[in-house]
Amino acid sequence: MALTTNSILICAGGGCISAGEESVKQAFERKLKEYGLDSVVSVVETGCMGACSLGPLAVVYPDGVYYQKLTPKAAEKIVEEHILKGRIVPQYLFEGSKDKLTVEEKAAPSEIPFFARQVKIALRNVGVVDPLNIEEYIARDGYFALNKALTKMTPEDVIKEIKDSGLRGRGGAGFPTAIKWDIARKQKSDVKYMICNADEGDPGAFMDRSVLEGDPHSIVEAMTIAGYAIGAQKGFVYVRAEYPLAIERLGKAIETAHEYGFLGENIMGSNFSFDIEIRIGAGAFVCGEETALMQSVEGKRGQPKVKPPFPAEKGLWGKPSVINNVETLAMVAPIILRGASWFRQYGTEKSPGTKVFALAGKIKNTGLVEVPMGITLRELLYEIGGGHPQGKQIKAVQTGGPSGGVIPAEYFDTPVDYESLAKLGAIMGSGGMIVLDEDDCMVDVAKFFLGFTVEESCGKCTPCREGTKVMHDLLEKITSGEGAMEDIDKLEQLAQIVRDSSLCGLGQTAPNPVLSTLKYYRHEYEAHVKDSMCLSKKCKAFISYVIAPDKCTGCTACARVCPSSAIYGEVRKVHEIDQDACIRCGSCIEVCRFGAISKVTPAVENVVSK
């Protein structure tokens, strides 16, 4: 490896790629070449750095200066100023979560609130190493844990270490990882399988994609350790087809691990042999459920099966199989290498360690963050997330995707761990957090998630297939202004039935968004039905756009932009909206420079006579 004076790490996560990372990278390389610096300055593409809303991102080392929202022009300027003359380019500095950093306060990661509160275990290498370079992974203690396990530990020792660490499944349910391993270990079978669940489907969660794209070797290493612990010779990673980049990088990682002897026959001179293959999904959310996933690996329709028998007893092709989520596995190598008590210094007694959260929705710093369990929602949303982008009040946060629930702002001092969230009627889930503000209607949110479940139900059991559909119809009725009070009760009752009688986790958790919004926001449901009002002014059946006569100057801007020609009025005279013709698209509000147009609920009678 050639010696370099500077390294430019550029984020090649999905978010930054979609924001033009490729052309920025090319601009860096072009300009470096122009100055003959290409031999001493390396440009490295890393995995996701986490601050997706500010992409494309890059860090210039050794100074550790973060740059954001880069363009090819910005890249050229950084080469000319920063690399060549050692002067930081202030206008592209990382904004952090609060005030723009000045040049004096050097934008080192430890000083930016977005990074300072984070503890990275699962994401330890993501955004730091070149995911395709195994030597960079090794340089950061990669494959040391595998070596320790194979040379100094028995499979029982490995399981004990994981058990002592208290590691729980990060995919949603929080089941203790060591128990799965232990059951599989004790099964008498010549063939066992180690499976990695990378069918990340929860809306709003993208930590697994980030790990696979940014640090694929961590999964290869962890699966091999797990295979050793349970006595499996073969592993499968089931990746959804929506993640082509993850598939590509993981495939490359498996290949290189083979070349280095970390996979294959007699790994590191031991008598343990292990191999990993990738299986690709084809677009079915239910395949994230472990029994459905195994069906899909076997090349069948991904329909769940009744448990027990559990996969650890009878899994893939009827053999004992352990299924762990990507993020869970990403924790394994550090625990083995540094020990259970090291891991336990973070988090809480019952939920040790860290958890990756994906912040999305109405929040300033969207992206991935990894924090110790037990942090409060307030710290997570305001100190790390930076609060609402326009400084509005945050109304609630939705956790756990379509299986989870909403947590209202009153409860933001709750610590984030498996038990506390479950107590509130939400779940930790895979870690997606969607932030909602006063403009978001809770009935609409519930309807939205249920629409998702209706689509994704595999159709095998009746409560889920039919029940979710009927629930969705009831919500449709309520949001379109045709609901009655008994519909709310019917909805609640049906939700409980679907929860109690569905076959798999998908159906059992599908009613959660309805139940939790009913628990905290029943008044919003009732307002829809009783008062024909949507308090968030979201549901089109209950809102009208109106023009305030005292503010309207008759500039005609709104009438010109209206796609359904619903606005009448002469030049310089007060305009009016024909409520029957109005399609409630909101275009008029955006163009009005006088703040004369507003949304009101309930809807008003039409007064325009044609």
């Binding site: 809306p203 191999d275 293959e277 084809a282 677009g283 076997e298 991904g302 092709w317 909602l436 595999c458």
Partner: protein, 161 residues
């Protein structure tokens, strides 16, 4: 695609795979990628069944279960719009409405010129830059109606040239 090509892929996959039973989904991906119109014709599905020595109904049930497989021809560009909540909240709904109007199709339909198919997709995991769409294998994020319009126009322009 003919039987010979299918045979070839089956052989290739058999060599790669260590376990026999699970070739089907992989194979269907490969077959579908072969067609520019991103689908698997019924007669090809039957050939696949014969080659793998399984019943055609098994192939068909897998084909129709997974949303990424199609049994009817689709457009050259498959536009997959993320309709998950993180995209819905910051303006995804407007993107969907715009695309439907602009292309004059509903979800699942293909434009008359055979260029575009509009589909829904679940979360693409790019919530940090929502709303997001995926066109074939490429992602587009931080979308606005204007941005989507120029993306579509660019693709159309590329075709006209």
């Amino acid at each position: 695609m003919d039987r010979l090509e299918i045979k070839k892929i089956v052989e290739e996959l058999r060599e790669e795979q260590l376990v026999e039973g699970d070739i089907l989904i992989y194979l269907l991906h490969r077959v579908q990628d072969h067609y520019q119109s991103h689908y698997i014709p019924p007669e090809i599905g039957e050939m696949v069944a014969e080659e793998l020595n399984v019943s055609p109904s098994k192939v068909y049930e897998v084909l129709t279960f997974y949303s990424m497989f199609a049994t009817k021809p689709r457009g050259k560009y498959i536009i997959r719009v993320c309709t998950s909540l993180p995209c819905h909240v910051p303006g995804g709904r407007e993107i969907v409405e715009f695309l439907k109007k602009k292309l004059d199709v509903d979800f699942g339909d293909t434009t008359k010129d055979g260029l575009f198919t509009l589909e829904e997709t679940s979360c693409l995991g790019l919530c940090g830059v929502s709303p997001v769409i995926m066109i074939n294998d490429d992602y587009y994020g931080d979308l606005t109606v204007e941005k989507v319009e120029s993306i579509i126009e660019n693709l159309k322009g590329g075709e006209a040239r």
